[in-house]
Symmetry: C2
Subunit: 264 residues, 2 copies
């Protein structure tokens, strides 16, 4: 079975289509014209999934198309949505039911704490740990002059051994060079810095969705067509002094974020 | 120019690839083997973009490939990343520099307030406003019995006239049926309910990335291959009584979300 065909990505990404042109998804009909078929297939798959357990195999697309009485392309679109949502995953030549997506709190707590709370074993693989000159963005976030040497730590984040994210952290070198003396980069960075007496008081976090670059896709063992969640964080201490700039890229099929909003 | 070729989506989505297999992005080399070329092209495009203003045209892919001394496929990947990030957009047969992505605060404030604060004119198009029986998820979130009639409001969210999101809101009918008497669904729902004396005290919001269904893609004038941000919100009032369940789907090339995190 050809995997490209099996997953059925046949649409082009064309986010910048000018208004007024008919989108391809509705080119042959009004927006509601396609509702019943794709809705029916999705509902049928949802019903099927509700009866299956983690790791159970899904019927083939051919079988699903026969069962739903629709074209294979209609089944493929629904299967593709479920793959991206992490509800199902490829295994060998077939497709099986995934374990639930990990949910991380948006908070000042670390990835490590969030993973443990969700019942997954956190881990990290070191990609690089170097001192580099601050570029314009890093200099602005860390309130240093561009070109000032800063510490850069890049790690792959693991949950139960699975590659779930890629995290780059930049920190002022004058304050954190001491980490070299005792910190193991495959453990929690927040635990280490908190151990130094650093207080994370406020962080600003921006969330968007992007595609991985070829390098990032290779490091996360996915393709450049998988939607990712990109988080940018800047943390300051109780005096408003910048502690870190963090860029985290997470596999969209394996993680979701959750925030509790209130008027505090 | 064929748009499919111009955008160059040639990778398959295959999020469920089992661990241990070599991902296609690195199939011909180690993860770092591809770094220099794609990095160089991306850096060249970033430098180019920094000198262009909103609406300025980008050189053709052929020209960019010549300028960077790489294959057109390498340029296509970088262009595709920038399209999904909303940095550039298609216009007619060419590609132009986009306006900056809108940033919405993750807060109890409404979409309307966030858009205005960001300097964009908010708007809404009504898709449907019906009373429907609560399904299992809605019943759980609104603390009613499954099958209880609830109000369902589905609207397209606009920013300066552009379709930016699709929002479905479910609310208890006993408390909110009165909205039918005075509320214009193309205005802010939060403003109307707050006018009724409703206090939004706490909300839980989950963020993930998904692909749009064919119907959603048609309503948002994009394709099913564009990564979207999906938000699920449940809001309760000061007494902990559920006010709403909201499912919002946003075009990933047009919006980002931002949260301020602190230990409050």
């Amino acid at each position: 079975m050809d995997t490209r065909e099996a997953v059925g990505v046949q649409d082009q990404v064309e986010p910048g289509r000018p208004q007024g042109e008919t989108p391809s998804a509705g080119a042959d009909s009004a927006p509601t014209g396609r509702m019943p078929k794709s809705y029916r297939v999705r509902a049928e798959l949802e019903a099927l999934l509700s009866e299956l357990a983690e790791g159970d195999p899904l019927p083939s697309e051919r079988e699903l198309a026969l069962r739903c009485g629709v074209a294979r392309e209609t089944v493929r679109q629904a299967v593709r949505e479920l793959l991206v949502e992490g509800r199902i995953r490829r295994q060998g030549r077939g497709t099986v039911v995934s374990r639930p997506k990990m949910v991380q709190p948006l908070s000042l707590r670390s990835y490590t704490e969030g993973a443990i709370k969700f019942g997954r074993k956190p881990g990290r693989l070191l990609v690089e740990w170097t001192d580099i000159p601050a570029d314009a963005d890093t200099a602005r976030d860390l309130a240093v002059e561009p070109g000032t040497p800063v510490m850069h730590l890049e790690r792959i984040l693991l949950a139960d051994g699975e590659r779930i994210g890629l995290e780059s952290t930049w920190m002022p070198l004058d304050r954190f060079a001491v980490l070299r003396e005792f910190y193991n980069p495959e453990t929690s960075l927040y635990a280490a810095t908190r151990g130094m007496g650093v207080v994370y008081a406020v962080a600003t976090e921006r969330i968007e969705t992007v595609l991985a670059s070829p390098r990032e896709a290779a490091l996360l063992e996915c393709t450049t067509a998988l939607p990712m969640l990109l988080l940018h964080r800047r943390s300051v201490d109780g005096e408003g002094v910048p502690i870190e700039r963090v860029r985290s890229l997470y596999r969209g099929d394996r993680i979701a974020f959750q925030a509790k909003l209130s008027d505090c």
